[in-house]
Symmetry: D2
Subunit: 354 residues, 4 copies
């Protein structure tokens, strides 16, 4: 009953893609995006506990698409695979990737290769890294800032979705020297799909809907490791931001409200300059702020700046979709670069509204 | 700051499209879909009260796309337009379309041309029709059942979104004679975007979220007119279904639960037979039922059948997205047919989940 | 830091209450209700897996109230307990209640004692009953229809929340003989808290929000056993309804839309007659239908009737809160009767809107 | 068909209460609360545009309660009224209250009397005040901090709901001198009911659900006027906080995340000291943060403190229900004080969860 849709007839012209860990939300989102990509064909989908099942059983929204069944990683023939997305749980990813063919291009969506420093990894993830040599090789996947390295990378580490959102607000400001690096507060509201398809009490509809709360308070969120690594590198000295994420009853979307010390107009100009030619980053008019509603399901990022009534203080607002631009869309954008495909291919769709 | 995306460079190769009434939800959804359509270019967007504004102001999710600004209908030069979608309010549509060039292909999304019989129109809409000659000309837009007529039509009338959903369940069953035409109950749960971007108290988040209610009870919903027209034509005698729609706190999606008298297996087979070659209609396995979650943002329809414990009774379940397959996606599918483009072009994207 | 609130100083004047299984949603709802009850004091709360923890840890909304800590059932001294609510999982309940003191008044909220017939129990629950003698003793807890028996009962079986909702629509109609017992369809939309605080994938916010689906299709829902038992008893012959529940993204609330054959006006009158003196059941005007929004968090039931355009067909609508009137509120109402307290005590609060 | 519930039989023993502007959300919430208050009877409800209608028509959740019908203010006989709640729109309130009997106790829920300084009023509300003499008389209604003045006040001005939330975090810290007054950022997530039952596009379910956004950015929110007035008075010098509110898809609830410079432990102690004897304010354990889910529908406030990894920085979290403790519950608490009733009467109910 399954029919092939939307694919070139001559599959030899497309790149063969595997998704390791296709049964989670980022794997499903990758599947959705790649089904609409004219130059890629999904040839393998893995899911350890769901091996042997059709993807449409695990995700009925994929019913009717011509997709390989879920199998175990060990059953994948990687010889015909051009690139593998690795959407496995944190810590699992490093051991799996270590075992893959050395010449296979890999985009990892886990947290395993985001931190370059083994000690930072051990500090934030509570265990030594199993593949420190890969850790050194991996390129950090924030496309707009690592584009050239990603083009030639074999292994790209997808960023944390919260980490990406905060960086879009802050990186150009640190680079331009228009804010005080010691006075950065990243306040973030995030959708629930960021926690994955995991069975936790606080993720139940009955517990989530109709309310909001902070989590990972007290500087315990692991994405702080990414902020530290990246911001300190840009500033050329340690930068230690304050970061509080909040859960709100929405499935997709992250809104970062970043409080900084600096002149709002200079901040706006630094961002506008940095993102002028970026296909996915949209600057709002000065004084406007974005909504996650407007980027849902898309690879776009909306950025706004507002002044405080006190001179020298401002807020930067960034909205993106955690599953798409914050994770699977970013991964596909990077894969496009790694394969020599036009960077925006398969990613230009407008958000779903309402 | 706006950049052209995803369009062929040579626009002479694409069809020029206008959307009249682009500032409502169906207009915005059409815009989203057509931006991803390789053979169409939007050349005019109208919005009477919002004329002069950019589409991205009215719908910030469209920021960054290369779109014409909103203008008034009278300011559109229709000479270069190949096809117009008319997403205007009910009753407005008929007078506008009457004034359009006679050779312009039109897909109307309002209720104005759904009923062929002027008396039926007057009964359900409470006023005589202003363009009865067009009423006679218009082809009913339920693609799977009017495909050949739509191909050659100049004016196609989009169906009611609820009406479409119910018909997907029932038409093949009446045609195959496997159900009792006097015992049909259409129970329907619908998302709030079906009511449009209108300022009504009951559509506020505070009134809608976290609860459900029936509406248009007592056989007052206008889509009954469509059911009567279509079902009676198929059955060759009057068919008068019972129909109760309900509002639930979801933005998109319609789930029809249709109670019929007939043998479940015969019903399943009639549906399976009818939809076997349809690109957008997916039959679930016998005994399974669909979820609106799995079709959100897509043009797909999921259909299930379950037996009752009493022989001779069954339920048919149909899920679709009211804004897409129930309205704007259907309209685009019909426009593809009218323009000689491959029917599925621009419509094969998977649903957005979660 | 805990302070006693809202309690009589002289506790000897109140009834001592235990909740067995206080860590589920119905247990928490009972706790909420009893905290506002002037004649009851909670003296024991049990939770097997959470024994040793404070209730406010398990349910932070109860922080600040003077409550006993969670303990194991075996650690409760039942000698000072006047009445126990048993909010344990199905099947567990029967063995626990069998072991309680024979003179302890018990209101059971599980499914274990709803069906009087051991064979019906075995059929719907897939195993023989462990306490058939208690099954015979238990009084069915639909207060408005079993009030006199509940007053003198030792063991009352709370009804299914869906089962209660359907019965409020149908019982008076069967009793008055104003509908055809062979043509009853109960279509129901229910909130997610009815599934409890259980970790199931389909109950996650990401899976539930923004969509709807039917469940337990094909006559498999266990509450059918209650419908059969009760309706057949009233009609004096087998009655076999068709019943389809649906999940919608709301935490509380059940809306039953019941399709019947009968004269709408006669149906309205039969309901109005039956509920005229009921403190918790509100008849809406003829032709109006209720919303679950209007009963959230309360013990009220809203009932409406609408005619179909075909004479002899009608719809009955019933809205209630599944956790309150459908479960814990009903249980408290029954406990009031069993203890000789005014039936409405602690239950008259208005719904929470919005 | 209406029946009196939950009221003392001898009404001469209760205070007679009027609600002016009962048709908005705060009026409805007051009605709900007062129906459960043993010492108050509602004798008048006004609603200019809805005069002549029953309250249950405007708010069906109030069906069945014994309530006066909605009338116009000019039709109220204030001679028998002990206290009036004024839940009218901003600016309307001041002219209405000016016309009320001079000896009538009034709790105003509008913004009209929150600012004591006529110039500050003119600055934030864009017009001169119509009743500056009442402005001088009015007592600011943040109960925990103005309790003694409220007891003897004739006119109490309810605080802004956002303003209340921020003040619960900050007042004790400024008073104790444990934070830097120049480094206060109030980040706030608020539910949609705060905007009232007003027909605005951005409050539609289709626009609100499943997303979040900041609003009133750039120091434009009027509650800044309250922060300035109150914090400057406590600190004895101008204090100018940074404040950004966000809308999230929840009907009730405010979560303030307040970023301060100070030692977390000292901050916790100052708050714990301030709130130790407060019946409605609950301190969470150090390092824990509250959720709006846990205070929904209640008059409780949950307060948490978390340290940042950098010494000398901390976050304070405050959750409350905007309609209850942030508005109508606060008003009732103040009315209790003004009438000499026990302060907590009618307000001790637990939150509704889930």
């Amino acid at each position: 009953m399954q029919r092939p849709f939307g694919k070139r007839n001559d599959r030899s012209m497309t790149y063969n893609i595997a998704i390791l860990g296709a049964s989670g939300y980022t794997g499903a989102e990758l599947t959705r995006l790649i089904l609409g990509h004219p130059d890629m064909t999904l040839v393998a989908l893995t899911g350890e506990r769901k091996a042997g099942r059709a993807m449409a059983e695990v995700y009925p929204f994929l019913r009717g698409f011509d997709l390989p069944g879920l199998c175990r990683i060990e059953d994948v023939d990687f010889s015909g695979v051009d690139l593998a997305f690795c959407a496995l749980p944190h810590a699992t990813s490093q051991s799996v990737i270590k075992g893959l063919p050395r010449d296979l291009k890999v985009v990892d969506l886990s947290a395993d290769f985001r931190l370059r420093d083994p000690e930072a990894y051990a500090k934030w993830y509570g265990k030594p890294h199993d593949a420190p040599e890969l850790q050194a090789e991996a390129v950090y996947g924030l496309t707009e800032f690592y584009r050239d390295q990603i083009r030639t990378a074999r292994l790209v580490a997808g960023t944390g979705c919260n980490a990406a959102t905060g960086q879009y607000a802050i990186r150009p400001l640190l680079a331009a020297g228009v804010i005080d690096p010691d006075e950065i507060i990243i306040n973030l509201i995030t959708g629930v799909s960021g926690a994955g398809r995991s069975l936790k009490e606080n993720l139940l509809h009955a517990e989530m809907s109709e309310g909001a709360n902070a989590y990972a308070i007290g500087s315990t969120h692991r994405h702080l490791g990414e902020f530290d690594q990246e911001f300190s590198a840009i500033a050329g000295r340690p930068v230690s931001v304050q970061f509080t994420p909040h859960l709100a009853p929405m499935n997709r979307g992250i809104l970062a409200t970043v409080y900084v010390h600096g002149h709002a107009q200079a901040i706006y100009e630094a961002l506008e300059q940095a993102y002028r030619d970026e296909p996915f980053i949209q600057m709002l008019p000065f004084g406007a702020s974005p909504s996650t509603h407007d980027v849902r399901g898309s690879n776009y990022v909306h950025v706004g700046v507002a002044p405080d009534r006190r001179a020298g203080r401002a807020s930067v607002f960034v909205a993106l979709d955690n599953l798409c631009k914050g994770s699977s869309g970013q991964a596909l954008q990077n894969a496009n670069l790694m394969l020599g495909v036009k960077e925006t291919t398969g990613l230009l769709g407008a958000a779903l509204f309402p």
